[in-house]
Subunit: 436 residues, 2 copies
């Protein structure tokens, strides 16, 4: 079976642990049996392989996510990279073309698309498999996964089935109706669209052809930035007459907000935190190295990370997006292909950063025009290269990097380095990359 | 008039902005007319001088507070330094002996003692002056300041006056009664003890002699660590028969908890924070350089600083002391005589600290046995001295400090330095000081 995991999302609703460069699916928040933590992506990928070790998984993701995906699940999974963010219709047709043109999947083969962010149990993957089987053998063009609705939410699509069977035709599909309309659909027995669907690959290619005039991977990728931002639900599902739905009755939770995310946490506290005995239904996720103390709070979530601190009533956490947009956009922590960086201090004319390079990795060979830098190695062993000259470095070594010099550092073991940037104009744009 | 400001207090109730080395009276939280902020100490000292420019002020404080007191109000005020913390009876008699033996105040002169932490308006200082005048001319041994009680609090002393006059004798004094008892006292017209009192200096010396057998400053200071920990209220006020009370009807607020402290703030937010429109009665004090976002909270206080993050229901903030004692005791920010230090990162075998030296100041000349250090100058100009060799340093300069070397740095202008400490055993105990 072919599964495409759709890894999009801006993650403003899970600020400060997610932001415009670090999406929610990469936050390591789910405790595994061995006590370690995994992210939504890691959990989903692990569950897919456990349910069907023979499955072919492809991940459709914006190109900025390459590093973090490799860090989290290795580099053995094909990635269909979106050159920029264009919503789900472009992402789905690009992935269809990728499978067909790059991976040699036949137009007759069924493909299951599945978002990376629901929290589900193993039974979910049996239903995904069924979606694929029905797409392969059935008469309908499209097979959806339907969830029993909890309340008339305005953020889901509504599937109105032909009757109450487990696998039935779809009479109508309505993307994100208003509350009153949603109540009406629910009275008619509607299901939420769970975001997972299946079709024979040729269907995706045909839709691309119909709507944008071409369906080959190379052209789609090249013209991706010009494609209209529209969702697959609006562009395809609402218009399609030939749809089947499989009713899914198992555990499914959309992890879009702190409120729903914390419901899946096995403990009230992640990280360094103390709750007073009069706290009720309080969750703390603290990735800073200073403690959080909560006194007498009720129904609240506290999330603290290098980008900021959120303190929210749980229900109110759904409304945080516009407020997050108001905040300072400086990203103080980022995962890179080679490790991570964490801004420790941002002053006038200086930036102090802790850089962690994973063993065997190196940063790009690069230079800056308008700032000097200094590296001080805190721990580990590696090699610094400055203007072609290589120098082995250990704990305590200091490397001076005057403006204009080309430099990189290669980690032999895990390497922790303090990087101090000094200049009147410190900017991430001030970087030239070179071959190494 | 002689006033002794009593600057004690551990400040656990105002964690994380106060801690065992940084007391609440030094937090700069009160906005002045010019937009800058002042601390309780600064406000109180300014108010005392404004009310009576001819007053003689002495500050009684634990010796660890010397640097921060000098930083905040200069070094022109005599300090009576307590060698360790021993509660208020030892502090009051030590200060009495200090005034008599070191400052030449006569045993017949009146002295007013006043805690540093109530939030008061100028009228309060007129009443303090009256306390002093009554102590000087009256027949009673002790003059107290009485506050109209708001509720039967268990944390104050209760003064039961002889009648309802403005200046009357005291029938009885009871320190920290239980709630029921307090209710009874209030029905009898009791007043709270506001913590300010006055006596003729000889009275304080006599009480020292009676209770501990000596009253000279030199002996008191030398044996301070052996003195019993007891409060002036238990040791003296409860036993004294000859007391007068002056009723104070003006504005007075005890700033012991976040709940009362935030009531004196002129704005809801200090530092980088955003409150959603559905927040009600929420105060944020954020001294970190990352933003705080509050969504839909009610009656809450958020306080964030280098030592940690507090999120508390306002009323519950009175109960935080035992929880603060549970927390990691690492102090990540401290004010020093020469400036401040802020721990940016604490790793295994390394500590990264941002050191700010005020212009004209220098740290002690010192060495470490078990760690190497490196300084990188972020901004400013100064001179580093390593094993006697002086070197002028500017932005970008690097100074290596191998274990064992004697070193200091002197700031010509305000100097910001990143100090990286490297060693298997990094401890504040590993420090030898030398003359410079």
């Amino acid at each position: 079976m072919n599964i495409v995991l759709l890894s999009g999302g801006s993650g403003k609703r899970l600020w400060p642990l997610s932001n415009h460069v670090r999406s929610k699916q990469f936050i390591k928040i789910f405790r595994k049996a061995d006590g370690s933590y995994e992210s939504m992506l890691q959990r989903m990928y692990r569950q897919i392989l456990q349910a069907d070790p023979g499955v072919s998984v492809t991940i459709a993701a914006p190109k900025e996510q390459v590093s973090v995906i490799h860090n989290q699940i290795g580099d053995g999974v094909p990635l269909c990279l979106e050159p920029c963010r264009r919503d789900t219709f472009p992402a789905v047709v690009l992935a269809s073309a990728f499978l067909h043109d790059q991976q040699g999947v036949s137009a007759e083969d069924a493909v299951v698309f599945c978002p990376v962010d629901p929290y589900v149990e193993p039974e979910y993957f049996l239903t995904l498999k069924e979606l694929g089987n029905l797409a392969a053998i059935g008469d309908e063009s499209l097979v959806l996964l339907g969830i029993e609705p909890d309340y008339p939410s305005e953020k889901y699509g509504y599937i109105i089935p032909e009757g109450s069977g487990e696998r039935v035709g779809v009479r109508m599909f309505k993307e994100k109706p208003g509350r009153k309309e949603a109540e009406g659909y629910i009275r008619q027995g509607a299901l939420w669209n769970g975001g997972a669907f299946a079709f024979r690959l040729g269907y995706g290619l045909k839709k691309a052809q119909e709507r944008i005039g071409f369906s080959d991977y190379e052209t789609l990728s090249r013209k991706y930035g010009e494609l209209e931002k529209t969702s697959f639900d609006y562009a395809v599902v609402e218009k399609e007459k030939s749809i089947q739905v499989v009713r899914f009755r198992g555990y499914w939770k959309d992890l879009g907000t702190w409120n729903t995310l914390t419901e899946t946490m096995s403990e009230y506290v992640m990280g360094d935190a103390v709750l007073s005995s009069r706290c009720q239904n309080v969750h703390v996720v603290n990735s800073l190295d200073i403690p959080v103390l909560c006194m007498g709070l009720k129904n609240a979530v506290v999330a603290a990370g290098p980008d900021g601190i959120l303190v929210s009533d749980k229900e109110e956490s759904s409304y945080m997006k516009p407020y997050v947009e108001e905040l300072d956009k400086q990203v103080r922590y980022a995962e890179k292909s080679w490790g991570s960086y964490h801004v420790l201090d941002a002053g006038v004319g200086s930036l102090t950063v802790k850089v962690t390079l994973n063993a065997g990795r190196r940063m790009n060979y690069h230079s800056h025009e308008r700032r000097d830098e200094v590296w001080i190695v805190l721990s580990g062993k590696g090699a610094a290269v400055v203007d072609g000259a290589k120098q082995i470095v250990y704990t305590g070594d200091i490397v001076k990097l005057p403006a204009g010099c080309k430099h990189t550092i290669v980690a032999e073991t895990t390497l922790q380095v303090i990087e101090i940037q000094l200049g009147e104009e410190i900017s991430i744009q001030d970087k030239k990359k070179f071959n190494f």
